[in-house]
């Protein structure tokens, strides 16, 4: 079986517009979450959010248009479309291959796409068709001239991890040689009010696994990860996707499993496919939304899979829960943990507040890292686990 390598990546969050800016932000303990949105267009009440600088995004987008000599008005693209294009463009600039050839597949992960176009203020500016996720995919495809129709995944908060998993599986099965996996979501009144109605939002920056955690923080962002069966990365050491699995709780559509058994199934199946045992896992990049029930369920799953001794973090304390981007931006940072042998601090964490004795990373540190487990869980009872491994 051929290996599937991570050959390039990008992260765009409130911490910056490139993977390096984001990693440096984390190392310098920068928190991208603001205590309240600058205006009241997203929420009636003050809510902690992690927001992108869209003026800077427009500036960067104009630079790309100039560079490729495209005479298109910046406002002919929606905020989310520009975000995806910027992220994919940056990742593609790090590798040399003809991405317009046949055996390249674009995989898009998003939960809500251009949902902000339902708001009155954007309604008139764009065609109703832009609300369809396949149309979002078509616009991105046309911009870059990709050959194939993109594969669009919308599977709640596991979308990003699922998209990477499919990219890796489909390369191994011979459907394609390259998968450009990109995930993104933006903030809208729709999403913010919905999570508020669930009373799921924390008043301040979220605190995954902490005893005082009281809800999640929403964030907007985009991430891209390029997979290939060719060892093309300029970065060394090489990282491969070693295994993945998806499961369902079959318990509740908006609440996690009471036992964590199903996330544990996913973790165990992904380790089995990777050919490793719990003792081989050096680091866990967990989901960690900081809602009381989610983090507790994860701790039980990690306990069942005998991984409580493994250093673990959640990146959501830095840039919030970025929904369709989360699985990708957090996988990219996990991959950088492996390449740089660095364990990043789990922001917002002070004292353990879950029933299993998880080893939450309290300080940035260095350690020999070979194998990393990334997990995600979401509405609809879905769970995902994926293993990244150093070659």
């Amino acid at each position: 079986m051929s290996n599937v390598y991570v050959i390039a990546d990008n992260i765009i969050t409130s911490l910056g517009f490139s993977t390096d800016e984001n990693i440096n932000g984390i190392l310098n303990d920068k928190i991208g979450i603001v205590s309240a949105a600058p205006d009241n267009t997203l929420s009636n009440t003050p809510t902690a959010l992690s927001l992108l600088n869209f003026d800077l995004l427009d500036e960067r987008f104009l630079q790309i248009l100039k560079k490729i000599n495209r005479d298109l008005p910046v406002d002919s693209f929606t905020r989310l479309e520009k975000l995806f294009i910027l992220s994919i463009h940056d990742a593609l600039s790090k590798v040399d291959f003809n991405y317009q050839r046949k055996r390249v597949l674009l995989i898009i992960s998003t939960t809500k796409g251009n949902i902000d176009l339902l708001e009155d203020r954007y309604k008139a500016k764009f065609n109703h068709k832009r609300l369809f996720l396949w149309e979002l995919g078509r616009i991105i495809r046309d911009f870059f001239g990709f050959f194939n129709t993109p594969l669009i995944i919308s599977n709640a908060c596991i979308s990003g991890v699922l998209a990477i998993s499919i990219g890796s599986r489909w390369i191994q099965s011979g459907f394609c040689d390259y998968a450009i996996v990109s995930g993104g979501d933006i903030m809208s009144e729709f999403v913010v009010s919905g999570f508020q109605s669930f009373q799921a939002l924390s008043p301040g920056p979220c605190r995954p696994y902490d005893i005082d955690r009281n809800g999640l923080t929403l964030g907007e962002g985009c991430g891209t990860l390029i997979l290939s069966n060719h060892e093309q990365s300029r970065e060394r050491p090489l990282i491969r996707v070693a295994g993945s699995a998806i499961t369902n709780d079959a318990n509740h559509i908006s609440g996690p499993s009471r036992t964590g058994q199903e996330l544990s199934f996913a973790i165990n199946s992904s380790m089995k496919e990777a050919g490793c045992l719990s003792g081989d896992i050096n680091y866990i990049s967990a989901h960690g939304t900081a809602t009381p029930f989610n983090d507790e369920m994860e701790s039980k799953a990690i306990g069942l899979s005998k991984l409580t001794d493994v250093p673990l973090n959640s990146f959501k304390g830095y840039w919030g829960h970025t929904l369709g981007a989360a699985g990708i931006v957090e996988s990219v940072t996990a991959v950088h943990s492996l390449t740089s042998n660095t364990l990043f601090r789990s922001a917002g964490f002070k004292a353990l507040g879950v029933s299993e004795p998880l080893t939450v990373i309290a300080k940035h540190s260095t350690s020999d890292l070979n194998t990393c487990l990334k997990t995600a869980s979401g509405f609809g009872g879905c769970n995902a686990a994926i293993i990244f491994q150093k070659i």
């Binding site: 009636n44 046949k102 055996r103 597949l105 939960t111 809500k112 796409g113 949902i115 339902l118 708001e119 009155d120 609300l131 369809f132 996720l133 396949w134 149309e135 995919g137 078509r138 050959f147 194939n148 129709t149 594969l151 669009i152 995944i153 919308s154 599977n155 709640a156 699922l162 499919i166 599986r169 489909w170 099965s173 011979g174 459907f175 394609c176 009144e189 729709f190 009010s193 919905g194 999570f195 109605s197 669930f198 699995a245 998806i246 499961t247 369902n248 709780d249 079959a250 318990n251 509740h252 559509i253 908006s254 199903e262 199934f265 199946s269 979401g378 509405f379 609809g380 009872g381 879905c382």
Partner: protein, 226 residues
């Protein structure tokens, strides 16, 4: 343009049961199960079908249209096909559609458009994700294996075949409910199939239905049959 990813698989998989729901009629395993001469609207149609099939599942009334559709189609397939021989984690659900959860998205947006008439509800919001229908199906039939929701502009048999074939060939699942569940503005179309490994088909089940090869061509034929 069709996506290129095309590959011949080494193993044979079969459609061992299916349910097609379109405006006016319901077909299960080649048999006309329900026909409504005067289609009024979806709510009326789906309620009549639910009652006719004598299903007793109170959660059904809380579901949005997309979930009702996917749930009922799965229920009708599994009424006549046994999946009891499989472990809960050997079963998967892979569904696709064109408009994601847009129908419910619009309903939800209308609850927040007016700041003076603002009533966002978690019971509506939760259905603004397309994979919630998968969650509902998994809960009802205790399915705990692989699951995914994919979006394509129109029904894409190749996409569904590729996705499920890869999972079955790699033994990620032993059987899978899969297909197309589309609902937007009272327009709908659903094809849910049970796919099993050809060597494992229970001869006693699926009375009167001959398993069909799980190929792109057969999927297109099933969706467009009258």
């Amino acid at each position: 343009m069709q996506p290129l990813y095309f590959k011949r698989f080494e193993m044979d998989f079969s459609i061992t049961g299916y349910c097609l729901i379109s405006e006016k009629k319901v077909i299960v395993n080649d048999q006309l199960r329900f026909y409504q001469e005067n289609f009024l609207n979806f709510a009326n149609f789906i309620k009549s079908l639910y009652k006719l099939e004598e299903i007793n599942y109170p959660k059904f009334y809380k579901m949005d249209s997309l979930s009702k559709l996917g749930f009922l189609a799965s229920e009708l397939v599994l009424k006549v096909s046994s999946i009891k021989k499989y472990r809960e984690d050997e079963l998967g659900v892979v569904l696709s559609n064109s408009s994601s959860s847009l129908d419910t998205d619009i309903v939800y947006q209308n609850t927040i458009n007016d700041r003076f008439n603002y009533f966002p509800s978690p019971s509506v919001f939760v259905y603004t994700l397309p994979n919630i229908v998968i969650g509902e199906i998994c809960i009802k039939f205790n399915i705990k294996g692989e699951n995914a929701f994919l979006i394509s502009e129109t029904f894409n048999g190749r996409l569904i075949c590729n996705y499920v074939n890869e999972m079955m060939e790699k033994n990620r699942v032993q059987a899978c409910l899969c297909g197309w569940v589309e609902y937007l503005g009272d327009k709908f179309e659903t094809l849910v199939m049970l796919v099993e490994k050809s060597g494992f088909i229970d001869k006693q089940s699926n009375l009167g239905y001959c398993p069909t090869p799980f190929t792109e061509q057969h999927l297109n034929q099933l969706l467009h049959r009258n």
